[in-house]
Amino acid sequence: MAVLLQSILSGVLIGGVYALIGIGLTLIFGVMRVINFAQGELVMIGMYCTFFLFKLAGIDPFLSVVLTMPALFVLGAILQLSLIDRVLDALPQNQILLTIGIGLVLSNTAMLAFTSDYRILSTTYSSSSVALGSVRLSTPLLYCFLITSAITAALYWFLARTDTGHAIRATAQDRDAAQLMGVNVRNMGVLAFGLGSALAGAAGALIAPIYYIFPQVGGVFTLKAFVVVVLGGMGSIVGATLGGVLIGMSESLSAVYIGSGMKELCVYVIFLLVLLLKPSGLLGKSRM
């Protein structure tokens, strides 16, 4: 019983981080219909920012979220204005090539700048935990999950309650209609890509203390984010949240009950099953 509870708990907590990366990806896709294959590399940049802020300035990795998010927002906005914006009307495969290219440039630049060494960020609470009966709750993972939830809640509020949020959602629903209603869709694109990147940066900052950092780390997260988004339904933010937690849990449970080496296999089997039975994803609408 303890084993079951423990693995569900770990799964949900780690799933929260997957969800955060997925939300960034789905937001960008929703507004611009571009799949950002450089999402993982943006996470990697967030991780390096956090690492160096901690090493050089002594800023706690969880506090550094407030710095990495704006930094990545700016980076995302620049990428959108200078590169992505030019291919919005191009064929999907060209857009994919562009974002994959951006990812390659980012990871190889990081390799040149920081070498391919693995870096580990250790804080005083790196391996501490809270006991809840027979279950132990990892302290860094708990902080990570709480901040993730706060950021997700703030994003929901922003999209549901503010005018700008409404405009972003309108653009996602129908680009042309939104434009006719006086929404500046180009600006919304910049905003969405900036927000998506900022979320990736936040995820990077939150993962940095519980994982290790190296230039190729992005690939792991791009793939995971993509699965999370497709599982939840492309463009659906609630779907991405759900998808993230679901992937986290199925990884964790399959590692215990099927085999540690098989957890990826189980995740993709579930993923394929969902696609077979409900091709638009769990919460996706047919067009979205």
């Binding site: 303890a2 084993v3 423990q6 693995s7 770990s10 799964g11 780690i14 981080v17 390799m111 070498t115 391919s116 060494d117 693995y118 580990i120 250790s122 790196s126 391996s127 501490s128 935990s129 006991a131 132990r136 990892s138 302290t139 993962i207 519980i210 994982y211 290790y212 190296f214 190729q216 792991v220 986290g248 990884e251 964790s252 449970l253 590692a255 215990v256 085999g259 540690s260 080496g261 957890k263 990826e264």
Partner: protein
């Protein structure tokens, strides 16, 4: 006459190493070992013309590196590659091309088990790593239940396999057998499973980054066996040891330590530390000694591959890796019967605790979280 000898003593050796890619951090420690070896060989009158190839940690690139070294660069002998995965196809090609290859660190047993004539290995194969580690643990106190946790790569599975065979032979009950795929941020579920089996000894095979994550998460979950023991690779490396909260008391089997008492080991460590500002891991020592032996033989053989092979086969050395001799035993061929050491992290330092003749400190037992 002397001049003629000096001129003759120029040898061409190929190196295959992981200079970039995921294995690069360890690859660099091998490169450092090679650098020091070249300097010392020069002092001894052997000019080494080193041709270095980078396999980026990928077996297929290692294989084509070997082919280039053999056909285009016409090297006399090859030292490398670093990892078991890379070495596996590479030794086959070396045998086919009849070029002597000396493997410095790769532990996969089969590498020197396939009746090859041109393949030599200085480090102990995986079974040595596992059995020395478990021997040491059993010498410390009685244990009944063993858990093995390892990455599902050539190195991980082959080391874990021998640990399991050892357990069967010595009446240890195998209560958990967990192969994980490396690079996951979360091993908690695997470790929860291990914890629920209540093992006395946890034997782990991981590289350094995963080693840190695994032990961190084991501490979070309060997995508390009587001993944690790492088979080679990550668990005695400086980066791991520097994690003071989690590294204290962890045992690890290794091929080399600076306090092993082997001739020149201490001086090598001091020189290395001065030069590269970090303590040498066993990889550096294996690399250093391998290149030294290969170059010596190549010089003696006047760059003749066949004679170099014979020299490796017949020679005997006693240097920083202790006594080295390539012999056939237990189904191995051209394998150095290397005495494996067991270390423990004590007060933030790696000290040798087993076997007795090399030990400099008493092991701390049973294991307790700091």
């Amino acid at each position: 006459m002397i001049l003629a000898l000096l001129l003759a003593a120029s040898v061409r050796i190929g190196i295959i190493n992981s200079v970039t890619g995921a294995e690069a951090p360890i690859g660099e420690t091998l490169s450092n070992g090679y650098k020091l070896a070249v300097e010392d060989l020069k002092k001894a009158g052997i000019e080494v013309d080193l041709v270095s190839e980078d396999d980026t940690g990928k077996p297929q690139i290692s294989l084509s590196a070997l082919e280039k070294l053999v056909t285009r660069d016409k090297v006399t002998g090859i030292v490398g590659p670093y990892s078991s995965s890379s070495a596996n196809p590479t030794v086959k090609a070396a045998e086919k091309n009849k070029v002597p290859i000396l493997i410095p660190t790769a532990a996969k047993e089969e590498l020197t088990r396939m009746n090859y004539k041109y393949v030599f290995r200085i480090a102990s194969p995986a079974n040595g790593l596992a059995s020395a580690g478990l021997d040491a643990t059993l010498a410390l106190g009685p244990a009944k239940k063993l858990a093995v946790v390892y990455e599902n790569t050539d190195f991980g599975t082959s080391t874990a396999k021998t640990a399991k065979e050892y357990a069967a032979k010595h009446g240890l009950q195998l209560v958990a057998d967990e192969a994980y795929s490396k690079g996951s941020p979360d091993y908690r579920s695997t470790l929860t499973q291990v914890k629920s089996a209540e093992p006395d000894v946890v034997f782990m095979v991981s590289y350094v980054a995963d080693a840190i994550l695994l032990i961190r998460q084991a501490r979070e979950l309060a997995l508390s066996p009587k001993a944690f023991i790492g088979g080679g690779a990550g668990f005695s490396q400086p980066q791991f040891v520097a994690e003071r909260d989690i590294s204290e008391g962890i045992l690890a089997s290794t091929h080399w330590t600076k306090d092993s008492g082997w001739p020149g080991a201490k001086e090598f460590a001091e020189r290395y530390q001065k030069r590269f500002n970090v303590d040498p891991p066993y990889h550096s020592a294996c690399a250093y000694e391998s290149l030294r032996i290969m170059a010596e033989c190549a010089a003696k053989a006047n760059n003749d591959r066949e004679k170099t092979r014979a020299c490796l086969r017949e020679g005997k050395w006693d240097g920083i890796m202790g006594p080295v001799q390539f012999v056939d035993y237990d189904g191995f061929q051209n394998q150095n019967k290397h005495p494996v050491l067991v270390t423990q992290v004590q007060q933030g330092k790696v000290v040798t605790v087993y076997p007795k003749e090399n030990a400099v400190a008493k092991p701390v037992y049973p294991f307790k979280w700091k």
